[in-house]
């Protein structure tokens, strides 16, 4: 939503956007008061029902335990992953390796994506050069260029981080350029009239005003990066969640695969929560706006 509406340079459109998002967030809260069962309870119930179905299907032996191990087996395997580990590393070591790769890729893509995004939105020439490149990279599935990256960068950490960073770059670049372009011209004019220099405008006006959009971009990038991770770890890793899942599947230890999937979902959830916390901390005016 932010990406699309903010792309318009018209400050009036932004005003409408804020107003409408405020209105939109107000409506569900009114509806929620009328509803008897809160959404959270419905979500929890869905989870419990699914768990019960899983339990029933596996205890009734409807399918072979190779295909669907029981929740108890998965829980036991979770414990043994924590204490003993699988394929020569414990669960925490696998998680550490994967998190390290995603965070390294995030740093790389922020370091490249922020300047590129600012350039695209402020310079006509830079936009002409960089925009086609970003648009070329954006729709490519990471699995398509993974073999090429391996030929270029080998099978070490570099190639894994490169693949993840490549998938994270487009959302960061696009949201940065959209955020910078959406800064109301009035803000810039006001700062100029007080005699602000170019760098002062960039740091004190454009940077804070575009932060919400950039944070949204990072949130999206974390999502795509995390899903690319598993693909990147399929090739020549010796540690990591994707590697653990693949090895588990090859040894037909399905419970390890299921634990891996849950852990990946859990971490993605945690990262999302962190990103939202960062949003509340760094751009509190958005939250205040929504809260009203």
């Amino acid at each position: 939503m932010t990406l699309i509406t903010d792309a318009k340079d018209d400050p009036v459109a932004i005003g409408i956007d804020h107003a409408s998002s405020g209105a939109r967030s107000a409506t569900p809260s009114v509806r929620a008061k009328r509803r008897a069962v809160p959404t959270l309870v419905i979500s929890l119930m869905t989870g419990l029902v699914l768990l019960a179905l899983w339990w029933g299907a596996s205890s009734a032996r409807l399918v072979s335990p190779v295909f669907l191990p029981s929740p108890a087996a998965v829980a036991a395997s979770f414990w043994s992953l924590l204490t003993v580990g699988f394929v020569d590393s414990t669960l925490l070591q696998h998680v550490g390796a994967s998190l390290g790769r995603v965070l390294a890729a995030l740093l790389v893509s922020i370091a490249i994506g922020l300047p590129v995004g600012i350039l695209i939105s402020t310079s006509r020439v830079a936009r002409g050069i960089l925009d086609p490149l970003v648009e070329f990279l954006r729709p490519l599935p990471p699995l398509a260029y993974l073999p090429l990256i391996i030929i270029w960068a080998g099978i070490g950490e570099a190639s894994k981080v490169t693949v993840i960073a490549l998938s994270m770059l487009p959302p960061i670049i696009l949201s940065t350029s959209a955020g910078v372009r959406a800064v109301p011209q009035d803000f810039i004019n006001a700062a100029r009239s007080f005699g602000a220099s170019r760098s002062q405008i960039l740091l004190s006006v454009i940077a804070p005003a575009s932060t919400p959009s950039i944070l949204t971009g990072i949130r999206i990038a974390l999502g795509t990066g995390w899903s690319t991770l598993v693909a990147a770890e399929l090739i020549a890793a010796s540690r990591g969640l994707g590697f653990m899942i693949q090895s588990g599947a090859q040894f037909l230890v399905t419970d390890v695969v299921i634990v891996g999937i849950f852990v990946i979902a859990l971490i993605a959830f945690g990262l999302e929560w962190l990103a939202r916390a960062a949003e509340r901390r760094f751009v509190p005016w958005i939250a205040r706006h929504e809260g009203k």
Binding site: S64, P65, V66, F67, S77, S80, V84, G85, F86, V87, D88, S89, I151, G154, I155, G156, I235, A236, A237, S238, F243, Q246, S247, A249, Q250, F251, L252, V253, D255
Partner: protein, 337 residues
């Protein structure tokens, strides 16, 4: 669909005679499709595969699917997309330990020099510590590597074991990304040219970790089409017997070597040497208590026990005899072709 050569005609004539002989005892359905997963490994049954002898003997349509490792073959059999598959003893042990409905129908060969640990710039095993060793996970190579490391008192955690398939190992070796690899021919032959061999599977067998390759069938298919399975085993056994009877005839310029090279990607002039990397037991030898009659089940049990000890599989079974049978080699011996 197949270009008809004189050999082909001879084969068809042979198949005709064969089916006449069999028609009294069995009902070979012409519309049955057998999905067979093979691996590009240098062994005698590549020749009947190239000749279409299996199709002629079973009178079924056969989908040959190429796999680069036993783990993928097992996964395909588990999902029901394969009926018969070529696997090593280690994937077989992993699958049987998970109680997958499979059965070993015939042995291909006991692995000798066909699989080995080759390394670059490493002269003694202790230098492997901290190095990158590639091997296809779950494979016999992986198992032999773990056995060798244990024999040398090297903690597997002190080396970096990477999961790569043979073609990827060849590429990674060429790039210099890996220091060593436990892999099989024809990729092994390729990397031996610029590396030294630290241990072969023959050595590892002496250290208590024998490995072998085998054909397995999904139990469902075996129940439905026992005659097709027996015919398959018979054709495989014939190829082995032909090689055993006269190994020297399978020289570099022989049509056999050409066919094996075509299906496996090995160099034709290297085929005779690569064939010596295995000990190929005949069907009669396989039926005995040393092999399918009992010894093989014990070997699978030992392999499983080791994989469990290494934390690769969660549990091992107490008895592996339901997963190994000499019934098929015995049935095949009754067939006359």
């Amino acid at each position: 669909m197949i270009s008809i050569s004189r050999r082909m005609l001879a084969m068809l004539a042979l198949a005709g005679g064969l089916s006449a002989a069999l028609s009294a005892t069995s009902s070979f359905a012409a519309d049955v499709t057998i999905n067979i997963g093979y691996q590009p490994i240098v062994e005698p049954s590549r020749v009947p595969q190239a000749d279409g002898t299996y199709e002629a003997a079973t009178k079924a349509k056969i989908n040959w699917k190429k796999f680069d490792g036993g783990a993928d073959v097992i996964a395909a059999i588990a999902s029901g997309s394969l009926d018969i598959g070529y696997v090593g003893s280690s994937p077989l042990a992993a699958a049987a330990s998970r109680e997958l409905p499979i059965e070993t129908i015939a042995l291909v060969g006991l692995i000798g020099e066909a699989e080995a640990l080759a390394a670059r710039n490493i002269s003694k095993p202790q230098d492997l510590v901290g190095k990158k060793i590639a091997t296809p996970f779950v494979s016999t190579g992986h198992y032999s590597l773990l056995t060798a490391l244990k024999h040398w008192n090297i903690d597997p955690k002190s080396v970096q074991i990477l999961n790569l398939r043979p073609p990827e190992i060849a590429a990674a070796w060429a790039r210099g990304d890996i220091d060593a690899a436990y892999v099989w021919d024809p990729v092994l032959a390729e990397i031996k040219k610029s590396g030294t061999v630290l241990a072969t599977s023959e050595d590892v067998a002496k250290w208590g970790g024998p490995t072998f390759d085998a054909w397995i069938v999904s139990k469902d298919f075996a129940t439905k089409h026992p005659d097709l399975v027996a015919a398959f085993v018979k054709v495989t056994g014939n190829a082995t017997a032909a090689y055993r009877a006269n190994p020297d005839a399978w020289n570099a310029s022989s049509p056999q070597a050409e066919k094996i090279a075509r299906l496996t990607g090995a160099k034709q002039e290297e085929v005779p040497a690569l064939l010596k990397g295995y000990i190929f037991p005949t069907l009669e030898e396989q039926a005995g208590t040393e092999l399918l009659g009992g010894g093989t089940a014990k070997a699978v049990a030992q392999t499983s026990e080791f994989l469990k000890e290494q934390g690769k599989i969660p549990a091992a079974l107490s008895d592996y005899s339901p997963y190994v049978s000499n019934r098929w080699v015995k049935d095949a011996a009754k067939l006359s072709f």
